[in-house]
Protein backbone atom coordinates (compact mmCIF):
# COMPACT_ATOMS: atom_id res chain seq x y z
CA UNK A 1 0.00 0.00 0.00
CA UNK A 2 2.72 2.45 1.06
CA UNK A 3 4.73 1.57 -2.05
CA UNK A 4 1.71 2.26 -4.26
CA UNK A 5 1.09 5.66 -2.67
CA UNK A 6 4.74 6.62 -3.06
CA UNK A 7 4.83 5.44 -6.69
CA UNK A 8 1.79 7.58 -7.52
CA UNK A 9 3.25 10.62 -5.70
CA UNK A 10 6.63 10.12 -7.38
CA UNK A 11 5.00 9.84 -10.83
CA UNK A 12 2.94 12.99 -10.18
CA UNK A 13 6.05 14.91 -9.12
CA UNK A 14 8.16 13.57 -11.99
CA UNK A 15 5.60 14.72 -14.56
CA UNK A 16 5.20 17.94 -12.57
CA UNK A 17 8.95 18.58 -12.56
CA UNK A 18 9.24 18.12 -16.33
CA UNK A 19 6.13 20.22 -16.90
CA UNK A 20 7.42 22.95 -14.59
CA UNK A 21 10.64 23.34 -16.60
CA UNK A 22 8.64 23.77 -19.82
CA UNK A 23 6.12 26.02 -18.09
CA UNK A 24 8.58 28.49 -16.59
CA UNK A 25 10.55 28.54 -19.86
CA UNK A 26 7.68 29.11 -22.30
CA UNK A 27 4.22 28.60 -20.86
CA UNK A 28 4.18 31.20 -18.13
CA UNK A 29 4.23 34.19 -20.46
CA UNK A 30 1.34 32.71 -22.48
CA UNK A 31 -0.75 32.10 -19.37
CA UNK A 32 0.00 35.52 -17.88
CA UNK A 33 1.20 38.33 -20.15
CA UNK A 34 2.68 40.18 -17.16
CA UNK A 35 5.30 37.40 -17.04
CA UNK A 36 6.71 38.28 -20.48
CA UNK A 37 10.40 39.01 -20.10
CA UNK A 38 10.28 38.17 -16.38
CA UNK A 39 13.71 37.55 -14.83
CA UNK A 40 15.19 34.12 -14.11
CA UNK A 41 14.73 34.61 -10.35
CA UNK A 42 10.96 34.88 -10.77
CA UNK A 43 10.86 31.78 -12.98
CA UNK A 44 12.89 29.75 -10.47
CA UNK A 45 10.64 30.95 -7.65
CA UNK A 46 7.46 29.72 -9.30
CA UNK A 47 9.05 26.42 -10.44
CA UNK A 48 8.09 24.39 -7.30
CA UNK A 49 4.53 25.71 -7.46
CA UNK A 50 4.30 24.81 -11.16
CA UNK A 51 5.47 21.27 -10.34
CA UNK A 52 2.87 20.94 -7.58
CA UNK A 53 0.00 22.61 -9.48
CA UNK A 54 0.82 21.21 -12.91
CA UNK A 55 -2.64 19.88 -13.87
CA UNK A 56 -4.19 23.33 -13.23
CA UNK A 57 -1.42 25.17 -15.04
CA UNK A 58 -1.49 22.71 -17.96
CA UNK A 59 -5.19 23.49 -18.41
CA UNK A 60 -4.49 27.23 -18.25
CA UNK A 61 -1.70 26.86 -20.80
CA UNK A 62 -3.90 24.86 -23.20
CA UNK A 63 -6.69 27.44 -22.89
CA UNK A 64 -4.38 30.44 -23.26
CA UNK A 65 -4.71 32.53 -26.41
CA UNK A 66 -0.98 32.40 -27.02
Amino acid sequence: MAEWILTIVAAYLLVGGLFAIAFVSAGVSRVDHAAKGAPLGFRLLILPGAAAMWPLMLLRWIRSDG
Binding site: A2, A38, P39, G41, F42, I46, P48, G49, A51, A52
Partner: protein, 356 residues
Protein backbone atom coordinates in the same frame (compact mmCIF):
# COMPACT_ATOMS: atom_id res chain seq x y z
CA UNK B 1 0.79 45.41 -7.59
CA UNK B 2 1.00 43.99 -11.06
CA UNK B 3 2.96 45.45 -13.94
CA UNK B 4 5.72 42.91 -14.48
CA UNK B 5 6.78 40.10 -12.19
CA UNK B 6 10.01 40.04 -10.24
CA UNK B 7 11.35 37.32 -7.93
CA UNK B 8 10.86 39.59 -4.92
CA UNK B 9 9.91 43.25 -5.04
CA UNK B 10 12.52 44.28 -2.52
CA UNK B 11 11.97 47.31 -0.34
CA UNK B 12 13.95 48.51 2.64
CA UNK B 13 11.33 47.18 5.07
CA UNK B 14 11.31 43.75 3.38
CA UNK B 15 15.07 43.52 3.71
CA UNK B 16 14.91 44.47 7.40
CA UNK B 17 12.07 41.95 7.89
CA UNK B 18 14.07 39.13 6.31
CA UNK B 19 17.25 39.99 8.19
CA UNK B 20 15.26 39.87 11.45
CA UNK B 21 13.78 36.46 10.48
CA UNK B 22 17.18 34.96 9.63
CA UNK B 23 18.83 36.46 12.74
CA UNK B 24 15.92 35.28 14.92
CA UNK B 25 16.10 31.72 13.56
CA UNK B 26 19.88 31.51 13.98
CA UNK B 27 19.68 32.98 17.49
CA UNK B 28 16.94 30.51 18.47
CA UNK B 29 18.86 27.51 17.09
CA UNK B 30 22.13 28.56 18.75
CA UNK B 31 20.40 29.19 22.10
CA UNK B 32 18.50 25.88 21.93
CA UNK B 33 21.64 23.91 21.11
CA UNK B 34 23.73 25.56 23.85
CA UNK B 35 20.99 25.17 26.49
CA UNK B 36 20.29 21.62 25.25
CA UNK B 37 23.95 20.65 25.59
CA UNK B 38 23.87 21.89 29.20
CA UNK B 39 20.46 20.42 30.11
CA UNK B 40 20.79 17.00 28.46
CA UNK B 41 24.00 15.63 29.96
CA UNK B 42 25.17 12.36 31.53
CA UNK B 43 22.39 9.74 31.51
CA UNK B 44 20.12 12.09 29.60
CA UNK B 45 22.67 12.97 26.92
CA UNK B 46 21.40 13.01 23.30
CA UNK B 47 23.25 12.94 20.00
CA UNK B 48 23.97 16.12 18.06
CA UNK B 49 21.56 14.99 15.34
CA UNK B 50 18.67 14.63 17.80
CA UNK B 51 19.53 17.98 19.38
CA UNK B 52 19.41 19.60 15.93
CA UNK B 53 16.13 17.81 15.12
CA UNK B 54 14.60 19.19 18.33
CA UNK B 55 16.00 22.68 17.77
CA UNK B 56 14.64 22.88 14.21
CA UNK B 57 11.30 21.30 15.13
CA UNK B 58 10.62 23.62 18.06
CA UNK B 59 11.80 26.61 16.00
CA UNK B 60 9.30 25.77 13.25
CA UNK B 61 6.50 25.45 15.82
CA UNK B 62 7.34 28.83 17.36
CA UNK B 63 7.40 30.40 13.88
CA UNK B 64 4.04 28.83 13.02
CA UNK B 65 2.54 30.31 16.19
CA UNK B 66 3.90 33.75 15.25
CA UNK B 67 2.50 33.40 11.70
CA UNK B 68 -0.93 32.58 13.12
CA UNK B 69 -0.85 35.27 15.82
CA UNK B 70 0.18 38.17 13.55
CA UNK B 71 -3.20 38.48 11.80
CA UNK B 72 -5.47 38.90 14.86
CA UNK B 73 -2.82 40.90 16.76
CA UNK B 74 -2.56 43.42 13.91
CA UNK B 75 -6.33 43.94 14.09
CA UNK B 76 -6.11 44.90 17.76
CA UNK B 77 -2.84 46.79 17.49
CA UNK B 78 -2.52 48.55 14.10
CA UNK B 79 1.10 49.39 14.92
CA UNK B 80 1.87 45.73 14.36
CA UNK B 81 0.57 45.89 10.78
CA UNK B 82 4.11 46.08 9.30
CA UNK B 83 4.61 42.54 10.65
CA UNK B 84 1.69 41.49 8.50
CA UNK B 85 2.93 43.10 5.27
CA UNK B 86 5.52 40.43 4.58
CA UNK B 87 4.03 37.52 6.50
CA UNK B 88 4.55 35.30 3.47
CA UNK B 89 8.33 35.63 3.95
CA UNK B 90 7.88 34.32 7.49
CA UNK B 91 5.69 31.52 6.12
CA UNK B 92 8.33 30.48 3.57
CA UNK B 93 11.02 30.62 6.30
CA UNK B 94 8.82 28.41 8.50
CA UNK B 95 8.58 25.86 5.68
CA UNK B 96 12.38 25.89 5.18
CA UNK B 97 13.05 25.32 8.89
CA UNK B 98 10.38 22.58 9.05
CA UNK B 99 11.81 20.99 5.87
CA UNK B 100 15.28 20.92 7.44
CA UNK B 101 13.75 19.21 10.51
CA UNK B 102 11.94 16.66 8.31
CA UNK B 103 14.98 15.95 6.13
CA UNK B 104 17.22 15.19 9.10
CA UNK B 105 14.49 13.01 10.69
CA UNK B 106 14.09 11.07 7.43
CA UNK B 107 17.82 10.46 7.13
CA UNK B 108 18.50 9.75 10.83
CA UNK B 109 15.52 7.52 11.65
CA UNK B 110 14.66 6.00 8.27
CA UNK B 111 17.79 6.25 6.15
CA UNK B 112 19.78 3.29 7.39
CA UNK B 113 17.34 0.40 7.01
CA UNK B 114 16.53 -1.90 4.13
CA UNK B 115 13.26 -0.13 3.42
CA UNK B 116 13.00 2.94 1.24
CA UNK B 117 13.09 5.86 3.77
CA UNK B 118 9.71 7.16 2.55
CA UNK B 119 8.11 3.69 2.81
CA UNK B 120 9.60 3.39 6.29
CA UNK B 121 8.11 6.78 7.23
CA UNK B 122 4.66 5.82 5.96
CA UNK B 123 4.58 2.44 7.72
CA UNK B 124 6.29 3.45 10.97
CA UNK B 125 4.31 3.54 14.26
CA UNK B 126 1.03 2.86 12.49
CA UNK B 127 -1.21 1.68 15.31
CA UNK B 128 -4.27 3.87 15.63
CA UNK B 129 -5.44 2.07 18.81
CA UNK B 130 -2.67 3.30 21.11
CA UNK B 131 -1.84 7.00 21.65
CA UNK B 132 1.90 6.37 21.89
CA UNK B 133 1.78 4.38 18.63
CA UNK B 134 -0.16 6.83 16.50
CA UNK B 135 1.73 7.67 13.29
CA UNK B 136 2.91 11.04 14.59
CA UNK B 137 5.63 11.29 11.96
CA UNK B 138 2.99 10.97 9.29
CA UNK B 139 1.13 13.91 10.85
CA UNK B 140 4.34 15.92 10.66
CA UNK B 141 4.94 14.88 7.04
CA UNK B 142 1.40 15.94 6.08
CA UNK B 143 1.89 19.30 7.81
CA UNK B 144 5.14 19.72 5.88
CA UNK B 145 3.36 19.01 2.57
CA UNK B 146 0.83 21.76 3.38
CA UNK B 147 3.62 24.18 4.29
CA UNK B 148 5.33 23.34 0.98
CA UNK B 149 2.18 23.98 -1.06
CA UNK B 150 1.67 27.33 0.70
CA UNK B 151 5.30 28.36 0.28
CA UNK B 152 5.39 27.25 -3.37
CA UNK B 153 2.27 29.28 -4.20
CA UNK B 154 3.13 32.34 -2.12
CA UNK B 155 4.20 34.53 -5.06
CA UNK B 156 1.70 37.06 -6.43
CA UNK B 157 1.79 35.16 -9.73
CA UNK B 158 -0.14 32.35 -8.06
CA UNK B 159 -2.62 34.70 -6.46
CA UNK B 160 -3.43 36.13 -9.86
CA UNK B 161 -3.47 32.87 -11.80
CA UNK B 162 -5.17 30.54 -9.32
CA UNK B 163 -7.84 33.24 -8.58
CA UNK B 164 -8.06 34.99 -5.22
CA UNK B 165 -10.66 32.52 -3.96
CA UNK B 166 -8.64 29.38 -4.76
CA UNK B 167 -5.46 30.99 -3.48
CA UNK B 168 -7.13 31.96 -0.21
CA UNK B 169 -8.55 28.44 0.19
CA UNK B 170 -5.09 26.93 -0.30
CA UNK B 171 -3.59 29.29 2.27
CA UNK B 172 -6.37 28.69 4.79
CA UNK B 173 -4.93 25.17 4.99
CA UNK B 174 -2.49 26.67 7.49
CA UNK B 175 -5.08 25.82 10.15
CA UNK B 176 -5.14 22.15 9.10
CA UNK B 177 -1.34 22.30 9.15
CA UNK B 178 -1.44 23.70 12.70
CA UNK B 179 -3.73 20.89 13.92
CA UNK B 180 -1.41 18.30 12.32
CA UNK B 181 1.63 19.90 13.94
CA UNK B 182 -0.02 19.85 17.36
CA UNK B 183 -0.95 16.17 16.85
CA UNK B 184 2.61 15.49 15.65
CA UNK B 185 4.03 16.89 18.90
CA UNK B 186 1.35 15.49 21.23
CA UNK B 187 1.61 11.93 19.93
CA UNK B 188 5.33 12.14 19.29
CA UNK B 189 7.79 14.10 21.40
CA UNK B 190 5.42 14.58 24.36
CA UNK B 191 4.76 10.84 24.75
CA UNK B 192 8.32 10.34 25.96
CA UNK B 193 8.52 13.59 27.92
CA UNK B 194 8.45 13.47 31.72
CA UNK B 195 8.67 17.19 32.37
CA UNK B 196 5.40 19.10 32.43
CA UNK B 197 7.11 22.19 30.95
CA UNK B 198 6.72 21.14 27.32
CA UNK B 199 3.03 20.14 27.48
CA UNK B 200 2.38 23.42 29.35
CA UNK B 201 4.18 25.47 26.68
CA UNK B 202 2.29 23.71 23.89
CA UNK B 203 -1.05 24.19 25.68
CA UNK B 204 -0.25 27.89 26.21
CA UNK B 205 0.49 28.25 22.49
CA UNK B 206 -2.73 26.53 21.43
CA UNK B 207 -4.85 28.51 23.92
CA UNK B 208 -3.14 31.77 22.94
CA UNK B 209 -3.66 31.28 19.18
CA UNK B 210 -7.26 30.13 19.68
CA UNK B 211 -8.11 33.00 22.05
CA UNK B 212 -6.64 35.58 19.66
CA UNK B 213 -8.69 34.24 16.75
CA UNK B 214 -11.91 34.07 18.77
CA UNK B 215 -11.40 37.63 20.09
CA UNK B 216 -10.65 38.96 16.59
CA UNK B 217 -13.69 37.14 15.21
CA UNK B 218 -15.98 38.63 17.88
CA UNK B 219 -14.60 42.10 17.14
CA UNK B 220 -15.29 41.68 13.43
CA UNK B 221 -18.79 40.44 14.20
CA UNK B 222 -19.50 43.51 16.32
CA UNK B 223 -18.49 45.75 13.41
CA UNK B 224 -20.76 43.85 11.01
CA UNK B 225 -23.72 43.99 13.40
CA UNK B 226 -23.67 47.78 13.81
CA UNK B 227 -27.09 49.13 12.84
CA UNK B 228 -27.08 51.53 9.88
CA UNK B 229 -30.57 52.76 9.09
CA UNK B 230 -31.58 53.76 5.55
CA UNK B 231 -32.88 57.35 5.52
CA UNK B 232 -33.47 57.80 1.82
CA UNK B 233 -33.79 55.69 -1.29
CA UNK B 234 -33.10 56.49 -4.93
CA UNK B 235 -32.73 54.48 -8.14
CA UNK B 236 -29.21 53.60 -7.19
CA UNK B 237 -29.84 52.26 -3.70
CA UNK B 238 -30.35 53.25 -0.11
CA UNK B 239 -28.66 56.23 1.53
CA UNK B 240 -27.62 55.78 5.15
CA UNK B 241 -26.76 58.40 7.76
CA UNK B 242 -23.10 58.10 8.74
CA UNK B 243 -23.62 60.06 11.95
CA UNK B 244 -20.90 62.22 13.45
CA UNK B 245 -17.67 61.71 11.49
CA UNK B 246 -15.46 63.93 13.63
CA UNK B 247 -14.06 60.86 15.38
CA UNK B 248 -12.55 59.52 12.14
CA UNK B 249 -8.88 60.55 12.40
CA UNK B 250 -7.42 62.28 9.36
CA UNK B 251 -6.17 59.77 6.71
CA UNK B 252 -8.00 56.93 8.49
CA UNK B 253 -11.34 55.23 7.90
CA UNK B 254 -14.51 54.01 9.53
CA UNK B 255 -15.86 50.56 8.63
CA UNK B 256 -19.50 50.46 7.59
CA UNK B 257 -21.37 47.22 6.96
CA UNK B 258 -24.96 47.49 5.70
CA UNK B 259 -27.24 44.45 5.95
CA UNK B 260 -24.36 42.00 5.93
CA UNK B 261 -23.12 43.20 2.53
CA UNK B 262 -19.36 43.62 1.83
CA UNK B 263 -17.80 46.22 4.07
CA UNK B 264 -17.36 49.84 3.04
CA UNK B 265 -14.41 52.01 4.12
CA UNK B 266 -15.25 55.68 4.69
CA UNK B 267 -11.96 57.58 4.58
CA UNK B 268 -11.31 61.06 5.90
CA UNK B 269 -8.85 63.07 3.83
CA UNK B 270 -8.58 66.42 5.56
CA UNK B 271 -12.12 67.83 5.54
CA UNK B 272 -13.16 65.57 2.64
CA UNK B 273 -14.71 62.13 2.93
CA UNK B 274 -14.78 59.38 0.35
CA UNK B 275 -16.00 55.80 0.39
CA UNK B 276 -14.65 52.65 -1.27
CA UNK B 277 -15.12 48.91 -0.83
CA UNK B 278 -13.10 47.75 2.16
CA UNK B 279 -11.74 44.67 0.39
CA UNK B 280 -8.34 45.00 -1.28
CA UNK B 281 -8.13 43.61 -4.84
CA UNK B 282 -4.89 41.84 -3.93
CA UNK B 283 -5.63 39.39 -1.09
CA UNK B 284 -8.87 40.78 0.29
CA UNK B 285 -7.06 42.84 2.94
CA UNK B 286 -9.15 45.19 5.13
CA UNK B 287 -8.67 48.58 3.46
CA UNK B 288 -10.61 50.32 6.25
CA UNK B 289 -7.77 49.39 8.59
CA UNK B 290 -5.24 51.04 6.30
CA UNK B 291 -4.56 54.73 5.86
CA UNK B 292 -4.04 57.36 3.21
CA UNK B 293 -0.35 57.57 2.32
CA UNK B 294 0.94 59.92 -0.42
CA UNK B 295 -2.67 60.67 -1.34
CA UNK B 296 -3.60 57.00 -1.83
CA UNK B 297 -5.59 54.57 0.30
CA UNK B 298 -2.99 52.01 1.33
CA UNK B 299 -3.87 48.43 2.26
CA UNK B 300 -2.50 47.46 5.69
CA UNK B 301 -1.55 43.99 4.47
CA UNK B 302 0.78 44.48 1.51
CA UNK B 303 0.68 48.19 0.74
CA UNK B 304 -1.44 48.05 -2.42
CA UNK B 305 -2.71 51.56 -3.17
CA UNK B 306 -5.88 53.12 -4.59
CA UNK B 307 -6.85 56.72 -5.27
CA UNK B 308 -9.66 57.79 -2.91
CA UNK B 309 -11.55 59.65 -5.64
CA UNK B 310 -11.95 56.74 -8.11
CA UNK B 311 -10.65 53.54 -6.47
CA UNK B 312 -7.97 53.12 -9.14
CA UNK B 313 -4.34 52.25 -8.43
CA UNK B 314 -1.96 55.04 -9.48
CA UNK B 315 -0.29 54.47 -12.90
CA UNK B 316 1.33 52.29 -14.11
CA UNK B 317 -0.74 49.89 -11.97
CA UNK B 318 -4.19 48.89 -13.18
CA UNK B 319 -6.10 47.51 -10.19
CA UNK B 320 -9.55 48.92 -9.44
CA UNK B 321 -11.96 48.69 -6.53
CA UNK B 322 -15.58 49.79 -6.17
CA UNK B 323 -16.40 53.26 -4.94
CA UNK B 324 -19.52 54.48 -3.13
CA UNK B 325 -21.35 57.77 -3.51
CA UNK B 326 -21.17 59.98 -0.46
CA UNK B 327 -22.85 63.35 0.11
CA UNK B 328 -23.18 66.11 2.68
CA UNK B 329 -26.80 67.22 3.15
CA UNK B 330 -28.51 69.30 5.85
CA UNK B 331 -25.49 69.04 8.11
CA UNK B 332 -25.43 65.26 7.73
CA UNK B 333 -23.10 62.89 5.93
CA UNK B 334 -24.83 60.24 3.89
CA UNK B 335 -23.45 57.15 2.17
CA UNK B 336 -25.02 55.17 -0.63
CA UNK B 337 -24.84 51.48 0.19
CA UNK B 338 -24.82 50.37 -3.45
CA UNK B 339 -21.29 50.07 -4.92
CA UNK B 340 -20.40 51.84 -8.15
CA UNK B 341 -18.51 49.79 -10.78
CA UNK B 342 -14.82 49.43 -9.90
CA UNK B 343 -12.81 52.51 -10.81
CA UNK B 344 -15.80 54.88 -11.02
CA UNK B 345 -14.90 58.47 -10.10
CA UNK B 346 -17.05 59.78 -7.24
CA UNK B 347 -16.77 63.33 -5.89
CA UNK B 348 -15.78 63.51 -2.21
CA UNK B 349 -18.19 64.94 0.36
CA UNK B 350 -17.16 67.94 2.44
CA UNK B 351 -17.34 67.49 6.20
CA UNK B 352 -20.31 69.66 7.38
CA UNK B 353 -19.35 72.77 9.34
CA UNK B 354 -21.04 71.32 12.40
CA UNK B 355 -18.52 68.49 12.34
CA UNK B 356 -15.32 70.44 11.71
Amino acid sequence: MSVGYKAVQWTHSKKVYDVVIVAGVLLYLATFIIVGKIAWRGDRAISDEILLIRALGTCAIVMLHIVLAIGPLARFFPRLSPLLYNRRHLGVATFLVAAAHGTIVLGYYHGFGRLNPFVSLLTHDADFGVASSLPFQLFGAMALVILFIMAATSHDFWLRNLSARTWKSIHMMVYACYVLVIAHVMFGALQAERSSLYPALLAAGVIGVTALHVAAGLRERRIDKQPWAAIDQDKKGAWIDLGDCRDIPNSRARTVCVDGRPRIAVFRNGDDLCAVQSVCAHQGGPLAEGKIIDGCITCPWHGWQYRPEDGRSPPPFEERISTHRIRSRDGRLELNALPEPPGTAVPPARLPEEMT
